[in-house]
């Protein structure tokens, strides 16, 4: 029997990193920057949070000595700072120095994954544990605190109120991003920068400012996806390479959602669900079938890419200057 009440919370938990990643990347792409470094940024966001939490937990010694607010704020700020630095690096290279965006992005992903694994490995050494992972249970408990009345509401509570605050934050950020992009002056200007920088420039919009701002903000949002993964989804356990390919899936989601973060909320749920569907479909003893189910998100991505490339409505196309540098005096 398919257990929907058990399935939905896991689906949501699985979808939140994707939601952060795709919302961050959408904001970035709307400014015309194709940041393929998002998987790396999410790694850096995660490990920065882990480093912050690790140092604080060590300094305090025991869980009782930890301040509730600081337990949340230190990893959060560390994560945002790490992601911001990655965003700044990307902007300096592609906006100021006009380096190739694809190469820069791919290099940053390689760098970010290596950075995460290096510091992850160092921390594991420091703890002297036998298992190749770090467990930050006190911090994780703080991140996973859900609303107290959730438990008393049965299945309803389990489906809607069983998540840590970052999950709700992801949904709020995505919906807010959709509103800002579509309804506000800042959103209009940002979209103009991504569509046609020359036009935006002639209209008096500061291209460099918008590109830096959108890319850095996008990286910080994406970084939170990494933090959520370690602290909430993985119960505070960092092990190298555990984050996997979620960053790439987040980039695929941007295309899937036709650059709309509000659609991104729903499609993140869909992809999160597909990601773990194999655990809930009875396959008996035949493990090979399970492996086939694991392919589902990727098959859907391929199908979606085919459908989106056939669709020809202009509004649903990528920002027209995506991937290109802008230089005013170039003719």
């Amino acid at each position: 029997m398919f257990d929907i009440v058990a399935f939905i919370p896991r689906m949501v938990a699985q979808s939140i990193p994707l939601m952060f990643g795709s919302t961050g990347e959408t904001i970035t792409q709307k400014s015309g920057n194709l940041n393929l470094g998002i998987p790396g940024v999410m790694y850096v966001g995660a490990i920065s949070g882990v480093i912050g939490a690790f140092l604080y937990e060590r300094a305090c010694g025991s869980a009782d000595a930890m301040n509730g607010a600081l337990t949340i704020l230190i990893p959060l700020c560390a994560c945002l700072l790490g992601s911001l630095l990655m965003g700044l690096l990307y902007c300096v290279l592609t906006v100021t120095l006009r380096a190739n965006q694809n190469v820069t992005g791919l290099a940053m992903t390689t760098f970010g994954v290596g950075f995460g694994n290096f510091f992850g490995g160092s921390l594991i050494k420091l703890t002297g544990a036998d298992v190749p992972s770090i467990a930050l249970s006190a911090t994780s408990n703080a991140f996973r605190t859900s609303l107290p009345f959730g438990q008393s509401l049965g299945a309803f509570g389990k489906i809607f109120f069983s998540y840590g605050f970052l999950a709700y934050f992801a949904i709020i950020v995505s919906l807010a991003a959709a509103y800002v992009l579509r309804r506000t002056r800042v959103g209009l200007h940002l979209r103009a920068v991504g569509e046609s920088p020359a036009t935006a420039d002639a209209a008096g919009i500061n291209i460099t400012k918008y590109k830096y701002f959108a890319t850095c903000l996008g990286c910080m949002i994406a970084g939170l996806g990494g933090l959520y993964y370690v602290m909430d989804y993985a119960n505070g356990v960092w092990s190298n390479d555990a984050f996997g390919d979620r960053g790439w899936l987040a980039i695929a989601l941007v295309i899937f959602t036709i650059w709309r973060p509000d659609i991104g909320v729903l499609s993140s749920f869909l992809f999160g669900g597909l990601y773990i569907l194999y655990l809930y479909i009875p396959t008996g003893m035949n493990l090979a079938v399970k492996e086939l189910y694991k392919m589902l998100p990727y098959i859907v991505t391929i199908i979606v890419l085919i459908i989106t490339s056939m669709r020809n409505k202009r509004e649903n196309q990528p920002p027209a200057s995506l991937g290109q540098s802008y230089f005013r005096e170039e003719r």
Binding site: A192, G204, R314
Partner: protein, 529 residues
């Protein structure tokens, strides 16, 4: 500096005064100590050849470039325009030759783009204000329509409204009529006259001298970045203006030798082409192309010109109909279904100059001789390409067409527009074609370079080549072409004799809604023969 008021003492203070403006790009001097005054309530025509620095000068007024030297006065006060935003603040609005509009935005969104008004974004209020501006000056534009759904002239209207919405009272138009039909041009001029009456200062850059005469009050001429002089429009004539622009006397007539023994080379019968998304691009087109004459093709851009040429060159999938190539011995062969290489070997050459000039036919990053090789790299037997002949050909083209380039190993993108076009046309002619298809060969070229190209085409015609000339400028078509096919919405709306047709007649045919039906089209064809 007390000369700011002297130049325009009898007209009050000038709206804009430029004094000693200099701008250099690397070693190239684009503007050399230019002085210029623009007054309120007048239209100033700024003339000059390609590369004479007109657009650069205006870009300094609109904040795109910043002058290296010199002063700008607005209403008598010295100002510093460092960004487009500063330009808006001083009431300067520029309508660029390539429209600065975001395709997926509505007219309203484009017009309010970049404005930092207080409060939330209120599209409805903005639309209302835009409608008011339109009513004041007689514009016809729907503020809620998306740009990519608009015609070129509607886009231009949006650009002008954009400037007015920002409160511009100094309006700069860079070649505004290059893409308009005669009727649309008239409408634009009517609006500009309204604005002049309203006390606005208008600067118009154009290559078309009859428009200068029709619209402007005063003419200023730039040559090689330097200010040459100015005169009242009513006191001058096209010959004098051209001489000032070029620096020496030139003749303004395009030769049109009588065609010698024209006989059909290509017969097009019922050609129908649909785009991949199912839109009819060419609808049962009938006409013929004759050896030894220049056939002009007129039409608003996007009426099927591109599809027509590409069908002949084998680059377009043809829905139905025939393109019959008549060989020298009178035998006919259908070009439909043949691949482009085969058609090329039969002697059909295509030179298509797209809007960005480099999109088709030339590779911007390759040098001249490599671009020549694009036509010949298959020749020869060895696995290695033959580099010597293309190199020689490049040198020949450079010499014969007076291409201005350091040498033949210069990447094509470094050349100016006119020189790029000479290279493209020169290469096609060098293949000694039987049919020469050219589209927009003089797009954006100044008078001198244009005439070089016309001469080239005429020489081909005299050699018995069937020349097809797709053009934008009706005056040129009427002077150059022996016959003119007019396309309207993918149909042939008329075939006229270039010697007897008049401009209004062709203009009407270009816009005739619905065109004429199929049976009539065949009649038109019969009449033309």
């Amino acid at each position: 500096m007390d000369n700011k008021a002297t130049a325009s003492a009898d007209h009050g203070v000038a709206a804009v005064s430029l004094r000693g403006i200099t701008k250099t790009f690397g070693t190239v001097v684009a503007n050399d100590h230019v002085d210029l005054d623009i007054r309120k309530g007048e239209v100033l025509a700024l003339l000059g050849e390609n590369g004479s620095g007109k657009t650069t000068l205006m870009n300094m007024l609109s904040g795109i470039y910043y002058p290296d030297e010199g002063q700008i006065f607005i209403n008598g006060e010295e100002v510093s325009i460092q960004s487009p935003k500063d330009a808006f603040r001083y009431g300067i609005g520029m309508i660029h030759q390539h429209f600065k509009l975001v395709d997926v935005f509505t007219a309203t969104e484009n017009i309010i783009l970049g404005l930092e008004e207080k409060g939330r974004l209120d599209r409805a209020a903005a639309s209302k204000r835009i409608r008011e501006i339109c009513n004041t000056y007689g514009f016809q534009v729907d503020p809620d329509k998306t740009i990519y759904e608009m015609s070129v002239s509607q886009k231009q209207t949006v650009e002008i409204v954009k400037a007015l919405y920002r409160g511009a009272d100094i309006l700069i138009l860079d070649e505004p009529t290059a893409v308009l039909t005669p009727q649309e041009t008239d409408r634009l001029f009517a609006v500009l006259r309204n604005m002049r009456a309203d006390g606005k200062a208008i600067i118009i850059i154009t290559h078309k001298l009859h428009e200068v005469q029709a619209l402007s009050d005063r003419v200023a001429v730039l040559r090689k970045g330097a200010y040459i002089g100015e005169m009242m429009t009513k006191d001058t004539n096209p010959q004098e203006m051209t001489n000032m622009m070029v620096g020496h006397a030139v003749t303004l007539n395009i030769d049109r030798p009588e065609p010698k023994d024209p006989k059909p080379r290509i017969e097009i019968k019922g050609l129908t082409v649909t785009s991949p998304d199912g839109i009819l691009q060419l609808d049962h087109v009938y006409f013929d192309i004759r050896a030894g004459e220049i056939l002009g093709v007129a039409g608003i851009s996007g009426s099927g010109q591109k599809e027509l040429l590409e069908s002949i060159a084998g680059l377009q999938r043809v829905e139905s109909g025939q393109i019959l190539y008549v060989k020298d011995d009178g035998k006919k062969e259908d070009l439909v279904g043949k691949d482009p290489l085969e058609i090329q070997h039969m002697g059909v050459a295509l030179s298509f100059v797209p809007e960005d000039r480099l999109g088709m036919g030339l590779v911007a990053n390759m040098d001249l001789s490599d671009n020549m090789m694009l036509r010949s790299f298959r020749d020869g037997r060895s696995v290695f390409t033959d580099r010597k002949h293309p190199h020689d050909l490049a040198e020949k083209v450079v010499e014969e067409l007076e291409v201005n380039t350091p040498n033949v190993s210069t990447p094509v993108r470094r050349l100016s527009g006119g020189n790029v076009q000479k290279v493209l046309v020169g290469r096609e002619i060098a293949s000694a074609p039987k049919v020469l298809l050219t589209a927009y060969a003089v797009r954006g070229l100044d008078i001198n370079s244009s005439y070089t190209i016309y001469d080239l085409l005429n020489k081909q015609k005299e050699k018995g080549v069937a020349v097809v000339y797709v053009g934008e400028d009706l005056d040129v078509l009427l002077e150059l072409a022996d016959r003119i096919v007019v396309l309207c919405g993918g149909r042939v709306s008329g075939i006229v004799d270039g010697r007897t047709a008049d401009k209004n007649e062709v203009g009407m045919l270009m816009t005739r809604l619905g065109g004429i039906d199929r049976e009539k089209q065949e009649e038109v064809q019969d009449l033309a023969e």
